[in-house]
Symmetry: C2
């Protein structure tokens, strides 16, 4: 179990937060996802989670993420 | 068939637009709903649509509307 931290840009409201949370939650191995609208902080917990898959999931949701 | 015009405040992204569109589309008699994010313009077409029901639907979606 490990935790990965990212910063997401472009989220403007709670709907955006939900979109990111939903996409990232679908990634294999992910057990918990925390997203903070104001800071853009995205914290992903799980087993053997691929950071690139997280970046792709955020992109799929329509936002940009960087590892933080 | 008539058209009602409103101005919605508080929408920040396309998810907000979708929320408003979905709630307003459920109102009895409504046949078309147009929402413009940038201006907040909400145009509702239909038969015997109750303007108060539109205001309530926008409130339900989490935003504020006034007749324009």
């Amino acid at each position: 179990m490990s935790t990965l931290s990212f910063t997401v840009s472009g989220m403007t409201c709670d709907h955006c937060v939900s979109s990111v949370r939903e996409e990232v939650s679908e990634i294999s191995g992910v057990t918990a996802v925390d997203v903070v609208l104001e800071s853009g902080a995205l914290t992903v917990s799980g087993d053997n989670v691929d950071p690139a898959a997280v970046l792709d999931a955020v992109d799929e949701a329509g936002y940009q993420a960087v590892v933080s």
